[in-house]
Amino acid sequence: MKRFKLQGKSSAAVATVSLVVAVVVIAVAVYMLWPAKPAECRFELQASLDKPYYRVGDEVSLSIVIRNLNDTATTQTVEVKVDNEVVYSEDVEIPASGSKTVAVGFKAEKPSTITVTVGEDSTTLSLEVVRCVTDFWGRDIEIPYNVERVVVLAEYEIVYALGAWDKVVGVSKYAYTNPVMCALKDINISEVPSPGSSWSLNVEELLALDPQVVLIYGFSGRTAETVEQLENLGIKCVVLELNSLDDIYRLIRLYGQIFGKEDRAEELIQIMNQTLDMIRERTANIPYDERPKVIHTWSKKLKVTGNMGVINDLIELAGGVNPASELEGKYVTVSIEQIIEWDPDVIIIWGIAKYGVEDIMNDTQWQTISAVVNGRVYKYPRGICTWSPEVVVLALKFAKWIHPELFSDVNVQEVADQLFMEVYGIPSPFEWEP
């Protein structure tokens, strides 16, 4: 009875069930018979770098893990691009249902985007790069690749000469009276804020300028303390301590590196070398015992340049002999008797000294010294910086004072004007030929 009922009632239900079964069967058949899914889509791609960031020139090690989700082995093209430049492109065989690790190595040059492509799959990573510079204390310092905010407490004019002035947010207070900075046409130095100088730094004002990097002299006994304090606050300090002519080259190259202006730095060095080579050519062959004795006096008549510093190098380069180089140091106070004993042929006075040529010429204690007897006491222009490219003009002036006969054809003013034009784009703000 029940069965009948069922049979009788169910003709529509049977049809429905059969339809469902048929659909399922067809679906399974279609699934089974459908062509295999393209292999490209069946990968898992992972790429990673071995360090969170790199220094310029570091070897970057990129590892790419490709997992094959197919059950067949396949060969795929793996391509790595750094900022659209292909650094790696190989066909790689990936075993069935297994994974393959590809290691790619290349040099870090600048912050970039890395694109890894396997078949049609791709992934991107960003490559963080910092610059690493070595300062004059021999410390390796990591600074942002593109510095944007720099406080320059030392040799600001070189930053200008490099064409990186837009990165400067603060200068030393001495910049305000620097003749070169004041003579520049396109910047108004007095509008640039100053947190003090390398010797007396107002740290709070410095922080207010929010610098990434501070360029500071290391001559003060308290620099180490200041540097530690700033670095604890996350500000990178590059310490500068110049003691020779070679240090100026080192400084220019260092600044070029910091501001990413290496090419211009080399250009500045070329400009300097033109003049220096000319001086060397003419003075190098003078025998040692025929070289005039030259002393350089600082803020006091009896404070002379010893065996250290740029000035001592300039005297040597210009074909003179500094008798005070037997004494250790940059500034050495000696007695007047010592100077009489040296009996220098030429005396050169520091440009900023408060005394002049007359003060030495008229001093009764100096009257027997050869330089005074022959009227060969000179003073160079006030405010000329000995740690900048223009130092070569000073070298030339020294050379002309020490060996007038060898440099009679040279007009120092012309050389100076040309050099200033090439370096700063202005004629020399100093008077060289009276």
Binding site: Y174, S197, W199, S200, F219, S220, W298, S299, K300, K301, L302, E326, L327, Y331, V332, T333, V334, S335, I336, E337, Q338, I340, E341, D343, I352, D363, T364, Q365, Q367, T368
Partner: protein, 334 residues
């Protein structure tokens, strides 16, 4: 025996003088030095048979330096002796009333701001200004009790120290180095001009204080006692302070602040001859002169560099003072 001791102390500068003339970097045989010295002294116009450098070294370099050291030594010691007697205080030196710090500030100021005055003039006037300030502060109802003078000196010194630090803050390192060198004191720039400028006020003050020495004796018994003996204490005090200050200020303005000479020499001489200022003042002059001269000989000969003589006087003064304190158990004043 006692007379001999006095005589020896009195003529001490003479051997020191001749000894110092032959000391120096430049090599001249000692006999030639004396030959040049005496020839130039008695016969200045004679054309010299020596190399011109010799003559310059002896006559224009060593002689002014030696004379200046003698003058400054005498000045600082006599000034110290007079002030110690006046204040009845063994710790007093010419610098107690703020002289040295005032002078230091004067020099710092002259380095900082371009002024028409020389640093020497600034040192001199600010030294005097400091002492004048101290004296004005200490003056109460027409009197200046010793204790308030000493305290006023401390106040004025502190004030000028602070001012000087402000000036230092703004000075660039080169100038700062110059200031530090000046503060340590030295004779390395000595010229005849300096001798000429300093000799009159210093010799005048030494003579005046020697003549007034009995008054210092009376004043050193205390204000009340001195008044009872009929002395115008205030007037005498002012005159003595002015003389002692001016002579020290002159010395400081030319050679910088040479420390401790004005402190140890008065003690040394007092130990040797007793507390009578009639002997003390002239003998401080001779002993102080000789002491500073020998100290300067050391300063210019122990290295090729010039040492500031102030360092040497202070270094030699400190152990001496420690010895003095230990030996007398603090009771050196009698």
């Amino acid at each position: 025996m006692k007379k001999l001791k006095l005589l020896v102390l009195a003529v001490l500068p003479i051997p020191a003088f001749f000894f110092s003339l032959v000391i120096g970097q430049f090599d001249i045989p000692p006999l030639t030095v004396y030959e040049i010295f005496f020839t130039k002294l008695f016969n200045p116009l004679i054309s010299s048979p020596w190399p011109p450098a010799y003559e310059v070294v002896v006559w224009n370099i060593r002689l002014p330096r030696v004379l200046l050291a003698l003058l400054v030594g005498a000045s600082l010691s006599v000034s110290g002796t007079a002030l110690q007697g006046l204040f009845r205080n063994p710790l007093v030196s010419p610098y107690i009333l703020g002289l040295s710090w005032g002078a230091n500030f004067g020099v710092a100021l002259s380095l900082l701001i371009p002024l028409p005055f020389s640093p020497q003039f600034m040192a001199f006037s600010f030294g005097l200004l400091a002492v004048f300030l101290a004296y004005s502060i200490a003056k109460v109802r027409g009197e200046t009790p010793v204790i308030s003078l000493v305290l006023a000196g401390v106040i004025v010194s502190a004030f000028f120290t602070a001012l000087q630090y402000i000036a230092k803050f703004f000075l660039d390192p080169q100038a700062l180095q110059g200031l530090v060198y000046w503060m340590m004191g030295g004779f390395y720039l000595a010229h005849w001009d300096d001798v000429m400028v300093t000799c009159i006020p210093i010799i005048f003050s030494v003579v005046m204080l020697s003549l007034m020495s009995w008054r210092i004796n009376v004043l050193s018994m205390g204000d009340a006692e001195a008044k009872m003996m009929g002395l115008n204490t205030e007037l005498n005090k002012v005159v003595i302070i002015v003389l002692a200050t001016v002579m020290a200020a002159v010395a400081v303005s030319v050679v910088g602040t040479i420390g401790w000479v004005g402190l140890i020499i008065p003690h040394l001489v007092r130990m040797a001859v007793g507390p009578d200022h009639r002997k003390l003042i002239p003998l401080s002059a001779t002993v102080g002169a000789a002491f500073l001269l020998v100290a300067d000989d050391l300063a210019r000969s122990i290295t090729t560099y010039e040492l500031p003589v102030g360092i040497l006087t202070t270094l030699s003064g400190v152990p001496f003072f420690v010895y003095l304190l230990k030996k007398t158990k603090g009771r050196s004043w009698s």
